[in-house]
């Protein structure tokens, strides 16, 4: 394998290519299978013994069943609401906090910054957190899913680092023109930080969409459940979905197809936003944070 001058041998290159191809297949193949199974007909599911890798005949019956009212439709709406509201709240609060901390030497800068930094190092325990949420009367409300994770201290530090790297001349000239701190944030800092905000927003959004344990802990009423809990009940724990849980009234599609359709439904929103933010990953905020 050792070649004298830099260029790898053909054998080494083939081996590398093979390993990378296998890694990609490990991600792609399950997705193909899940989508195929969700589109499969009853005969096809029976023939394959449960999991269909490539569908012959395509049927959208499973999607019609879960999307025409019923448990899954409601849970999807709940998840969309929690994700939208949570991301908006988090993004606003994080941006404001990061901006407030972006000027060393400002009033109470050190204690405020330390408050954020210590929060990264020492997370609160499960039981005490539960007691706080409970004593604030947030159990069985959506606030229990929105407020505790509102500020991710790590995101604050990343965004603060990004704000501090903005060219100081631009901010200074705006100040000379008489712009106040809020005007500078709104007119200069935010427009220059779109990429960073997009990535932070994605992190928050994915967090809210994927949150499962908070809902398990704080929502006793299954009517309030988000999609992840429905996914656990009907897909991971294999509880049967009957007419009562599904909308419409037509013949029930195969259980496997319904389960995989729910799984697809929970993945699709992430696939939708992923490409928009993906290009910011390598050049964006992360690298800055690592350097700092």
């Amino acid at each position: 394998m050792i070649t004298a001058m830099g260029r790898p041998s053909p054998l080494a290159r083939a081996a590398k290519g093979l390993v990378l191809a296998l890694c990609c297949a490990a991600v792609v193949v399950p997705f193909v299978g899940i989508v195929s199974t969700s589109l499969a007909t009853r005969e096809e599911v029976t023939r394959s013994g449960g999991f269909v890798l490539l569908p012959g005949e395509i049927s959208f019956a499973a999607y019609e069943a879960i999307l025409s009212g019923g448990v899954v439709t409601r849970a999807t709406l709940v998840s969309l609401f929690v994700t939208a509201a949570g991301t908006a709240l988090s993004l606003v609060a994080t941006t404001l906090l990061a901006y407030g901390l972006s000027r060393p030497g400002s009033f109470a800068h050190r204690p405020l910054l330390l408050t954020v930094l210590f929060a990264i190092l020492f997370g609160p325990g499960l039981i005490p957190s539960y007691l706080v949420v409970k004593s604030l009367g947030l159990v069985d409300t959506y606030w229990a899913l929105l407020l505790p994770p509102m500020i991710n201290a790590f995101n604050v530090i990343i965004l603060r680092a990004f704000f501090q790297e903005l060219p100081p001349e631009v901010l200074e000239s705006a100040r000379i023109d008489g712009a106040g701190d809020l005007a500078i944030l709104w007119r200069i800092v935010l427009p220059l930080s779109k990429a960073a905000l997009a990535v932070i927003g994605l992190f928050y959004g994915v967090g809210y969409w994927n949150a499962f344990f908070g809902a398990l802990l704080y929502l006793n009423d299954s009517g309030m459940w988000p999609l992840q809990l429905v996914l656990r009940t009907y897909v991971v724990n294999q509880t049967q979905l009957g007419i009562d849980q599904l909308g419409g009234g037509a013949a029930l599609p195969p259980q496997e197809a319904v389960q995989m359709a729910i799984l697809v439904l929970s993945i699709v929103p992430i696939l939708l936003v992923y490409p928009f933010v993906q290009r910011h990953f390598s050049k964006g905020v992360l690298i800055g944070a690592v350097k700092g």
């Binding site: 590398k16 399950p30 890798l53 995989m260 390598s282």
Partner: protein
Amino acid sequence: MTAHHPVAVEAAAAPRRRMRWHQRLLRDRVLVLVALPGVLSLLVFHYLPWLGNVIAFKDYQPYIGILESPWVGLNNFRVIWEGDPGFLNALSNTLIITLLQVLIVFPAPIALALLLDSLISQRLKKVVQSILYLPHFLSWVIVVAVFQQMFGNAGLLNSFLRTHDLATVSIITNPELFKLLVTSQVLWKDAGWATILFLAALARIDVELYEASAVDGAGRWRQLWHVTLPGLRSLIVLLLILRLGDSLTVGFEQIILQEPAVGRQVSEVLDTYVFNHAILAADWGQGAAVGLVKGLVGVLLVLGANRLAHRLGERGIYSR
């Protein structure tokens, strides 16, 4: 300290210092005001819970409240120093899973990043990265469901074996394989994403170092050993410190989801022990005691690992 300097010099050198606190508050009122909602949220949901840890020293009864519940001293900590079998089991499961993850999951992104970095076509590299980063954004519920579909009784692997008249294998429900299963799920979910840091570090290694070593006749393996790995050393140490600090924390959601399939004996870890005891079995004080000790040990581990990093001449997570 300021009093010893002439006023004029002091004013020119550091005009800020001379402002009184209320003047600075007036000047920075917007900054302080916008920081408040976020700080308040941290105080309530991050710092206030610390006070709740007092129930570790009480016989907490939810209906009479934290203040009224009787003090019991260190009674709740007896599960730890008397070695309650359930606690010891959770501790050993936690440590075994951590060990497996440090051995198997930790090196994987380094190797993967080296492979990605050696791809010559930038477009191909982008595509591969996009695919490998994706699982990181899926929830644990989804990851567990995906593994069931692949390796479960009715999953892809067993369907294949069945249609070819081969014996099926039980993976998801096999207690003996549980720790490896959990480890491979973490590998699948996060190994790709973790390459992002190593790729950034690789990009910062000076190309001249490679050229110089090639002139000196170093082959690819020697370059890897003498140029590439030293370039990654700081990052590897940093990430190892963070991982060591998290030794007692292994995938809570991931494990609670799969506990029913294999039972507590093999799957219970410290975090799920706390949850199962405190919230499900209403043994609040004991749960909080174990949680508190776990948190404190975690902090000590980070500080200890960081000190070790300083000994090795690295920066670690903070410098002195």
